[in-house]
């Protein structure tokens, strides 16, 4: 099993190299094969490793493969090495499995696009970097994966580079995440200077030994790591880039901006949970950020009109839940929600992609409607995804994972009632916007007169070959069945997932007795999500007159516009950072300091002009000058 591990990230990287460097024309079929096969192979290898892990776990349930020492200067000796433990295994499963499904889907979705090869090259680069990120044993090597993921996200968002707006969105994503990465870098500096090593396990061990709980160093390190995570996972205040990242093709949004990259932040915090344990202040900050983000993003999603932006804001919101879980110490719950979210959010995105394709590149959900009959498969899979997102009780994986998070928010010692209430309100909003999309897109009468072919067969047959539909079905089953392995505590059912992660991520210390202990909170949450679905049905399917009245109200108009623009963060950052920067650089086009220094040249020229006039050519002036000189000489002689 040792031998197998290095190949998992190796295959996608090789695929990237082959696709990027191969000159000449490659037939689309060959591109598709070299694009998808390696990741599928990695997925297979991961399954084998998982099987081996479950069956005969290696000693200490850890598998590490070391390649070489990156650089060795005095005490600084980071290594290029992989470290597989249950946490990275789960992440690897999600990345490779969901990744290969999405690659399969994009074989057909991107067919006929110019730059087909470039697309698969970048996707494989992404998957390879993500695997490096998840598997690396050294924080510095993790940074390689971390930035590699950022780079491939930049390349894929700006895939259609023809339109400068896509380029702008790509740059925005890379720069905003880079702000977070710089904070992470400073964190690394601090960690190495204080603890003398960057190897994750080693650092965590020495952190526990060195730093007292709540010590300044621990809090600083935790906060820096957190800001790196916030940048990558698009949490407040660095979340403005994700909605614009929808400029990339839909499979990109599905893979990077739903399932894997944005969850890298969650993985990082989970991986360094020891530091967060030592810094309760930082953990509280994480929880607050999580709660604030899930509410902020939920409300924004409610007002969006572009189907992909709704899902983008919903991703931000769901990751808010994960950060909330991390904040209250429920590490494995966060990872469980991460996995479930990967399944149903990827499903939603892929289904949305088909909807957009069917509607002829139309993104605005207000101009869609009644697709229920036209796209049955897409409708049912989208419905399952939306239900899972809305945590429809008992049936969907979303219910089990979100319920675990919400339950632990209340029962964990680090959690509190206020966070729980926020989480529940978030759940309500989530169900609202999830089913708003379902009702607007699939129910009601068709709004638009866009080119929708007349005959259903033709429409059904249009472009939805097996390659597009199979991933949908697989993800739909996962979105439903994915949750059964981890039933809620109160039910006494199997808790396979948290047990699997137990050695790496300890369960949070829970409060005893009282409201938290009882089953009441779970029932409340379930009831709320169902009620929200019905409310959404009322609001958006039946569209009663009173609702129209409220919609016209100016206050509601202003509020929805505000929510539409992501609560004005873009304008805020534009005013605070972008405009001063542009003003400064435009102002500084001519090199100010260079101009300063070249005033010496100007002075020389000025002096020359002055002295020129003294050479008037008239002899009498020269005699006068000479006599003036004599006088001066004598004066010096006298006065000295």
């Amino acid at each position: 099993m040792h031998a197998v591990l290095p190949f998992v990230p190796f295959f996608p990287m090789v695929a990237f190299a082959v696709l990027a460097l191969a000159g000449g024309r490659m037939a689309p079929r060959i591109i598709a094969i070299t694009g998808v096969a390696p990741t599928a192979l990695s997925a297979l290898l991961t399954l084998i490793t998982t099987g081996a892990f479950l069956g005969a776990p290696p000693d200490g349930r850890v598998l590490s493969v070391s390649f070489w020492t990156w650089v060795h200067i005095g005490g600084f000796a980071p290594k290029i090495a992989f470290y597989l433990d249950p946490l990275s295994l789960v992440m690897m499963l999600v990345v490779t499995f969901v990744g290969s499904l999405i690659l399969l889907y994009s074989v057909e979705f991107m067919k006929g696009q110019e730059g087909y090869r470039r697309f698969f090259a970048y996707m494989n680069l992404f998957i390879g970097s993500m695997l490096i990120l998840v598997l690396s044993s050294d924080l510095l090597f993790l940074l390689v994966g971390w930035e590699g993921v950022g780079l491939s996200s930049y390349l894929l968002i700006g895939f259609w580079y023809g339109d400068p707006a896509n380029g702008a969105a790509a740059r925005k994503a890379f720069i905003v995440t880079r702000v977070g990465d710089t904070a992470l870098l400073v964190g690394l500096l601090l960690i190495f200077t204080q603890l003398g090593s960057l190897d994750i396990q080693n650092t965590m061990g020495s952190a526990q030994a060195e730093w007292a709980r709540g010590s300044g160093m621990a809090t600083a390190a935790a906060l820096l790591i957190l800001s790196g995570a916030i940048g990558k996972s698009a949490q407040l205040p660095l979340q403005t880039w994700l909605p614009d990242a929808m400029a990339g093709p839909t499979p990109v949004s599905a893979l990077i901006h739903a399932a894997t990259m944005v969850t890298a932040g969650v993985y990082l915090v989970a991986r360094t949970h020891v530091v967060f344990d030592l810094a309760p202040a930082a953990q509280m900050v994480t929880a607050i950020i999580g709660a604030a983000t899930l509410l902020y993003a939920g409300l924004s999603a409610l007002a969006q009109t572009d189907i992909k932006r709704v899902l983008a804001y919903s991703t931000i919101s769901q990751i808010g839940y994960m950060f909330l879980a991390l904040g209250v110490g429920a590490w494995s719950a966060a990872i469980f929600h991460l996995m479930a979210h990967a399944f149903f959010k990827a499903l939603l995105f892929l289904a949305a992609g088909l909807v957009i394709k069917a509607m002829g590149e139309e993104h605005d959900i207000r101009r869609m409607g009644g697709l229920r009959k036209d796209l049955p498969i897409v409708f049912w899979t989208f419905l399952i995804g939306a239900a899972s997102l809305a945590a429809f009780p008992l049936v969907t994986a979303g219910f089990f994972s979100k319920d675990l998070v919400v339950d632990l928010t209340l029962s964990s010692q680090r959690g509190n009632l206020f966070l729980w209430v926020v989480a529940v309100v978030g759940a309500l909003v989530t169900s609202l916007y999830a089913f708003r999309v379902v009702f607007l897109v699939f129910f009601g009468d068709p709004q638009s007169t866009l080119p929708r072919s007349t005959s259903p067969q033709e429409r059904r047959g249009r472009g939805f070959g097996k390659a597009s539909v199979v991933p949908l079905l697989v993800l739909a089953t996962l979105a439903v069945a994915g949750g059964w392995m981890q039933l809620p505590r109160q039910w006494g059912g199997p808790s396979a997932f948290t047990d699997f992660l137990q050695p790496v991520l300890p369960a949070p210390a829970t409060r005893v007795g009282g409201f938290a202990e009882s089953a009441a909170p779970q029932v409340i949450v379930a009831v709320i999500s169902v009620a929200a679905i019905y409310l959404s049905y009322l609001l958006f399917a039946r569209r009663p007159a009173v609702v129209a009245g409220v919609a016209e109200h100016p206050l509601f108009q202003r509020l929805s516009n505000l929510a539409l623009s992501g609560w004005g963060f873009d304008r805020l950052y534009g005013a605070v950072f972008v405009t001063p920067f542009l003003w400064l650089t435009r102002g500084g086009r001519g090199d100010v300091i260079d101009a300063g220094v070249s005033t010496i040249a100007w002075l020389a020229r000025l002096l020359q002009r002055l002295l020129r006039r003294s050479q008037s050519g008239r002899l009498r002036y020269y005699v006068a000058a000479a006599s003036f000189g004599v006088i001066a000489f004598i004066a010096v002689g006298i006065l000295r």
Partner: protein, 569 residues
């Protein structure tokens, strides 16, 4: 003996190139390439013999332990001037860098230079000869001699084969460096006489001058003399005026040599001469120098972003990267010094690559103006790929050499001056801004041929909700009609990088990747020199003892509690 050859070969090669040029330009180019590769071969042989042998350099010869080979012949004995060359890890790295980049420079101007080819290659090879001299000179007088000799051929390179404003740029370059050089000469003479007066031996020999006892005031003034000369070359912030002009007006080979090597003389000089000769004085100006370094990082980034001339943009990026070098030098501990050496080499290759790319683009498009470029990826995919790779190297993508170098520098600086390290780290974000802006304006955006319609017809994804249907992309400023870019529409598939250029870019990319993933080769070579230098000029305090005051992390939340942990380097 090899050391003298290192200088003689390129020098003679210059003559050969000049005389063969009359017969056939191709033969002249090949002979120039041959002599630069010969130099490279010589330095590689030295490196293989001394640094890849039994795990480290053989016992150094007399004097400083790290000197691997020395040649010491009396030149003007009465004045104590010796033709004293010596090579150790650091100078060997610089030598290999010199010959490699000169070879790349010759290759880059294979088709670019058409008139007076012989003279061009003569000047290029003489620059290489004087650079070899600078990096191996151990006699301050000899060092100054080569330091000045280096300027003359490059001045002519810029002023004869340069672009539209070449004469002014060449003169500005010459005056800047000459003024700095003269200050250094004064400092050298000052040191010479002070040493003579205290010890009675009047000599320019670096090894003997090392330990001179100087009054703090004299040391400061002499140090400032050296600092000015190297700060001009490095370009530290206020003295960088010459760099953008010289780079944008120089021919491709000129700017490759300028960016790759001449700038490094500043860094090499500071490491080799400035701090070891005046340890006390240099550590007194550490804070000022680091502030200059950080200011340089930011200023370079801001200016790079606002340029419309491609080569000026790349020139300002090197001002920004050299800000890191200045930071690393004055952090003066093992990590920072290794970072500086790595940054010097990686920057030479990444910026050299960018200049070769800019030169190739200028050959094809006939312009350096970014406004006239845009959407080249669809027509020049190889250009795009290489441009993207080099941009990533410039912004310090982990996995490439620049990142490891900058990380080491930040690590080293973090121990000495925490705020400087943190602010410099923030500078990395600005590096991202200008690197991506460069890629956007040159390669992305609507392709010139179609003019108004979007490049490769994106069938999906209007970016923002406001965008109407995806088909009619708005005519942006860069694609203002095809009339303005007649030349671009003539781009044919064949205009992309040809085999020679791809080979060059491949070498550059390989080196950057190699230094990114396995920099140990370089670290091992420079290790001996760094230990020696740290022995000569021990840093003021081993480490800032982590007392409470410096530990208050500016970023930490207000709920900070003074740490109980002890610090383990």
């Amino acid at each position: 003996m090899i050391l003298v050859l290192l200088i003689a070969v390129p020098f003679a090669g210059g003559f050969v190139a000049l005389f063969t040029a009359r017969r056939s330009p191709q033969f002249c180019r090949w002979s120039a390439l041959a002599s630069s590769l010969a130099g490279l071969g010589l330095s590689l042989s030295l490196w293989v013999r001394h640094f890849t042998g039994a795990g480290g350099p053989s016992a150094g010869t007399a004097g400083s332990r790290s000197m691997v080979q020395q040649v010491d012949v009396g030149w003007i004995p009465q004045a104590g001037i010796h033709f004293h060359l010596g090579v150790d890890g650091l100078s060997l790295i610089m030598l290999m860098l010199t010959f490699a980049l000169v070879a790349l420079g010759v290759l880059a101007s294979w088709r670019g230079i058409k008139d007076r080819i012989g003279l061009f290659h003569l000047l290029l090879l003489w620059t290489a000869a004087s650079l070899a001299g600078v990096f191996t000179a151990l006699d301050l007088f000899l060092f100054y001699f080569f330091f000045e000799m280096m300027l003359v051929p490059l001045y002519f390179l810029i002023s004869v084969w340069g672009h539209e404003d070449r004469r002014r740029a060449a003169i500005k370059f010459f005056i800047y460096t000459q003024a700095g050089g003269l200050l250094m000469l004064v400092a050298i003479l000052g040191l010479y006489f002070l040493h003579g007066s205290t010890t009675g031996i009047y000599t320019f020999d670096y090894l003997q001058l090392l330990g001179t006892a100087l009054s703090s005031r004299a040391a400061t003034w002499l140090m400032l003399g050296f600092f000015m000369a190297f700060a001009v070359k490095l370009p530290a912030l206020p003295l960088h005026g010459w760099l953008p002009d010289a780079h944008s007006q120089a021919p491709t080979a000129g700017s490759v040599v300028l960016a790759g090597l001449l700038i490094k003389v500043g860094a090499y000089g500071m490491i080799r001469f400035l701090v070891p000769l005046f340890p006390g004085a240099s550590f007194r100006i550490t804070d000022v120098a680091m502030a200059l370094g950080v200011a340089g990082i930011f200023y370079g980034a801001f200016m790079a972003f606002s340029q419309t001339d491609l080569k000026r943009l790349v020139a300002y990026t090197s001002v920004s990267h050299m800000g890191f070098v200045l930071l690393g030098i004055f952090a003066w501990n093992e990590l920072a010094l290794q970072g500086v050496v790595l940054q010097v080499v990686c920057h030479a290759f990444s910026t050299g690559g960018l200049f070769m790319l800019a030169g190739a683009l200028e050959e094809r498009l006939g312009t350096r103006d970014l406004e006239k470029m845009g959407g080249l990826w669809s027509h020049l995919p190889r250009f795009g790929g290489v441009g993207m790779f080099l941009a990533m190297a410039a912004l310090g993508l982990p996995g490439l050499g620049n990142f490891v170098a900058e990380f080491l520098i930040l690590l080293g600086t973090y121990r000495v001056n925490r705020p400087a390290a943190i602010v410099a780290a923030v500078g990395l974000v600005l590096a991202t801004v200008y690197a991506l802006w460069f890629v956007q304006r040159v390669f992305h955006g609507p392709s010139p041929a179609e003019g108004t319609t979007a490049g490769p017809g994106p069938t999906g994804a209007p970016a923002t909700t406001a965008a109407p249907g995806s088909a009619a992309a708005p005519a942006t400023a860069t694609a203002s009609g095809t009339a303005e870019k007649p030349r671009l529409t003539a781009l044919r598939r064949r205009a992309d990088l040809n085999r020679r250029e791809v080979a060059m870019m491949f070498v550059v990319a390989l080196v950057i990747l190699w230094l990114g993933l396995y920099p140990q080769t370089l670290v091992r070579t420079a290790k001996e020199t760094n230990d020696d230098l740290l022995r000569l000029a021990p840093p003021p305090t081993e480490e800032i003892a982590p007392n409470v005051s410096t530990d208050l992390m500016p970023l930490a939340s207000p709920v900070l509690v003074p740490p109980a942990g002890k610090n383990r380097p």
